[in-house]
């Protein structure tokens, strides 16, 4: 940014200017001819100047202060005439839209205090350069956009609103922000048909680190985009991109925590990793992760009933919010199982063993219950995890997983063939969780109807006559259908119903195992296993046993928010902006906890593109230096300083003030 010089004078004008300094010096020395003054005695004066003579060079300099000031003024005047200027920046246009990215990655501290602060600073500079009458609008965005300030020419207001932009942990979506900006700038915008009003052109400044997908299906209209990339190429970050906990493959009793760490920096890093359970350190590790590499880390957690697992990494990087992740390990929740049967003692017996009672709460009803209001409401609300229909079927499928024994679901494309006698089991899908660890070679069937499995379904038990058991998905649920009956009632010759045993499966070891599999898989009964986590800003579905229950959610920062569940006991909590563990309380008791983690590789990746561009519609917007460069003329300032020097000189001359 060296100053440029624009010659504004011709040679003879320059020579006149060049003659002025010698003239001043000459005049000064002429003037310096000392005025003689007769005094009574020079005795005291001589003695006074004796010691002042010691530093006479300084004396001389001081004596010539006025001369120097005059020469300095002349120099400044000459510089002003030289047309000294430098390359500065200038804001062009009169309507501005500032889109400020406040997504998680903008919390990186590689530039200034943070990228967001840097972006705010840049916007502040641009606001400073606005000329009077210019209007500007500020929109902050992450995955949603917020109009911080609509068009105004009030710079103080703009600055205050700009200052109020807070960073979030959300992902980035430019489209939202562009829609908002466009909606305010393009008043006639309606789909593809909009009116281009040239006088309403607005300069769009996007201040972001550019970590967002290309924006498609958007037309800029009157917006003239400029992309200002915020971020340093040296940014380094090691982030947790995934965190989960699972039962150990080898030993189902213990849990293992898995995390995936990715190094988004340009250098290899060494990170220490701590795993805490309820704030107590239970394991730690240290690992080297090469630049750009991803590494997994596994910890043996042991058997955990419940608690909050926290994973911390310390690598001294630029983004802190992805250095922590939480998981809530919830206590097992018994599955809510409904058995609808006209009477099936072997099945009821198998369903009510001690071990099944731990994982499921069983309700037994007769088929008449299917017509009642409580059933209809509960089925529609999805209060049951699993409904077993034994030799009966509902009119509409409930919001639950189902097992139908000897009957077909009314919907879903199921059908059955003709009843056959003594089908032979020839294959069992032992890989399916429902039939794992099952040995069915010794099971015999008296009769059955081969099933036509709908598309997407899986045949579980195949016989020589056709599939006798299958499972098929239905929306988010799964329906299992068994084609044979365990107990059958057949009208005898005398017209009386007689009970027959349809299979010897109940007497085999595989049957209780199947029931356990059934509860575990279709009953949705989870062991003490993680409930997963949600991403910041995403809604969390909360469920209560009571309808219209009052819930209180305590955020990680200790704030409490009240909400009420609907008649079906459902509530949606949307205020998940903070990272950490949220507690859901009902009646003063913590009912449920859930964790909000960043775990977003796109946000953790804080490396700016070497050639930053963003794609908006069909337009590629290249990253720009902050603003358009313009020649900044210096003569005003030079003359101002010169005027001050003249005033000083005048003051010194008149008041005899000496340094």
């Amino acid at each position: 940014m060296w100053p440029n010089i624009a010659n504004m004078l011709t040679w003879w004008q320059w020579s006149i200017l060049a003659a002025v300094p010698p003239a001043i010096v000459l005049l000064y020395f002429l003037k310096l001819k000392r005025r003689p003054l007769e005094v009574p005695s020079t005795y005291l004066w001589h003695r006074s100047i004796e010691d002042l003579h010691v530093n006479s060079i300084w004396q001389r300099l001081r004596r010539n202060l006025l001369l120097f000031l005059q020469l300095l003024f002349l120099l400044l005047a000459a510089l002003a005439l030289l047309g000294l200027n430098w390359r500065g920046t200038e804001l062009t246009g009169d309507r501005f839209v500032f889109l400020v990215d406040r997504s998680a990655s903008m919390q990186a501290t590689d530039v200034g205090t943070s990228r967001l602060d840097e972006a705010k600073r840049l916007v502040d500079e641009m606001i400073e350069e606005m000329e009077s009458g210019d209007v500007a609008m500020i929109v902050s965005f992450d995955d949603t956009a917020k109009i911080e300030q609509a068009f105004t020419d009030n710079r103080r207001l703009l600055r205050r609103k700009l200052e109020g932009i807070e960073p979030s942990a959300h992902a980035t979506s430019l489209l939202e922000a562009l829609k908002v900006a466009s909606g305010l700038v393009n008043p006639g915008f309606a789909g593809e048909d909009f009116q281009l009003t040239p006088d309403l052109l607005a300069e769009l400044y996007v201040l972001s680190d550019g970590k967002f997908p290309a924006v498609t299906g958007f037309s800029l209209g009157n917006l003239r985009p400029t992309f200002i990339s915020v971020g340093s190429p040296d940014a380094k970050n090691l982030g947790i991109v995934a965190f989960s906990v699972r039962r150990s493959e080898s030993n189902p009793e213990v849990f293992q925590a898995f995390a995936r760490l990715e190094n988004f920096g340009g250098e290899d890093v060494s990170a220490s990793i701590d795993l805490l359970l309820d704030k107590e350190l239970i394991d730690a590790d240290r690992m080297e992760i090469a630049a750009g590499e991803t590494r997994g880390v596994a910890f043996d957690v042991g058997s955990v009933e419940s608690g909050v697992l926290k994973l911390e990494i310390a690598a001294g990087d630029h983004l802190a919010i992805d250095d922590e992740a939480y998981l809530v390990v919830a206590p097992p929740e018994p599955a809510n199982v409904l058995l609808v049967t006209p009477g099936n003692e072997p099945l009821e017996f198998a369903l009510q063993t001690d071990s099944t009672a731990e994982i499921a709460e069983l309700t037994v009803e007769s088929p008449a219950f299917l017509k009642t209001k409580p059933y209809l409401a509960a089925a529609a609300a999805g209060l049951y995890d699993l409904i077993i229909y034994d030799r009966c079927r509902p009119e509409t499928m409930p919001l639950a997983n189902t097992l139908l024994i000897g009957s077909l679901p009314p919907t879903g494309g199921w059908s059955a063939g003709e009843a056959v006698d003594v089908p032979q089991i020839i294959d069992v899908e032992a890989g399916h969780p429902l039939l794992q660890w099952l040995e069915m070679g010794d099971v015999m069937l008296a009769a059955g109807t081969p099933l036509e499995v709908p598309p997407g379904g899986t045949v579980l038990i195949d016989t020589n006559e056709g599939p006798m058991a299958a499972v098929a998905p239905r929306e988010r649920f799964e329906d299992m259908v068994i084609g044979f009956r365990i107990i059958d009632e057949i009208a005898g010759d005398d017209g009386k119903l007689q009970r027959y045993i349809g299979t010897n499966w109940m007497t085999r070891q595989s049957f209780p195992v199947f029931v356990l599999n059934l509860f575990n898989y279709l009953g949705g009964s989870r062991d003490a296993l993680e409930t997963g986590y949600v991403r910041p800003g995403k809604p969390v579905a909360l469920k209560t046993l009571d309808a219209n229950a009052k819930l209180r959610v305590r955020t990680p920062s200790g704030e409490t928010l009240d909400l009420r569940s609907d008649e079906l006991g459902n509530a949606a909590f949307t205020n998940t902006a903070e990272l950490g563990v949220y507690q859901v309380q009902s009646g003063g008791q913590t009912q449920q906890q859930f964790a909000v983690n960043l775990c977003n590789a796109a946000e953790s990746d804080i490396r700016p593109d070497p050639k930053p561009t963003i794609q908006i519609g069909y337009e590629e917007v290249a990253g720009a230096p902050a603003r358009q460069s313009a020649r900044k003329e210096a003569w005003k300032w030079l003359l101002l300083v010169g005027l001050l020097i003249l005033l000083t000189e005048w003051y010194i001359y008149n008041r005899r003030v000496y340094l």
Binding site: L37, S41, Y43, L44, I49
Partner: protein, 295 residues
Amino acid sequence: MPPTSTILTPELLARLERMELVSRKIFRGRMKGERRSPRKGQSVEFADFRNYVPGDDLRFVDWNTYARLEKLFLKMFLEEEDLHFYALIDASDSMAFGEPTKLQYATQLAASLGFIGLIRGDRVKIETLGQSARDAAPVFRGRRSLWRMLEHLEAVEPGESITMVEGVKNFCLRNSGRGIVVLIADLMEKTGYKDALKYLVSRDMDVYVIHLLSAEELDPDVEGDLRLIDCEDGDVAEITVSAPLLKRYKQTLAAFVDGARDFCNRRGIVYLMARNDVPVEDLITGFLRTRGLVR
């Protein structure tokens, strides 16, 4: 009715008439005056008795005592004598500065003090430093001499070029008698004033030094680049007036005045600094009174 003069105004004279010169020492006078003398003589003030010895003036025999004791005693009386008052004025060129000039001020001061002496019957002699050793000034005595004294003072002109030591030496040669000497000078002597004062002290005189400085010297109102020319010897000092220089000048002046005062105090000389913008009347009725020269 005292005669009017440019030097002494009637009002000043009226005030001065009530004063008298005080000497810290008792000197012998030459003529009878209004002061006590160490000599015993004829006056109304009784001093002592002594035995009669043949040849004594019988007029002084105390006949009353003789009548009681049948012994002759002589009554002795304190002799009242005149005081020698000298005013020594520096009439060099440097005294021609100021408004009024320092010399005018000095003559006025000398006239005032001389007048006090005249009305008390003292011997008043007013001289300048430039007078030669033989050229003695007239002696004034008695109120009638006032006019002559003033005439003498009005004749004093600046322009005497003689060092202070020489001037004082000459003064001492001219005047052998002892008494009060008041030296009115600016002491701005490149050769120094100390030797001169030592001369005076050595003559066992009651010495008063009135250090007279003009307001211009005390607080110089100068500015710019100046070439200062000494009016007496043509010496040149080139200065550029600045705040530090003025400050330094004042420091030097203060040191000079302090030095003179200190020198005088050590030698029993009464030192008094006077400035020409303080009226003579105030100086006499105020400062000189407190310093004991007049009462």
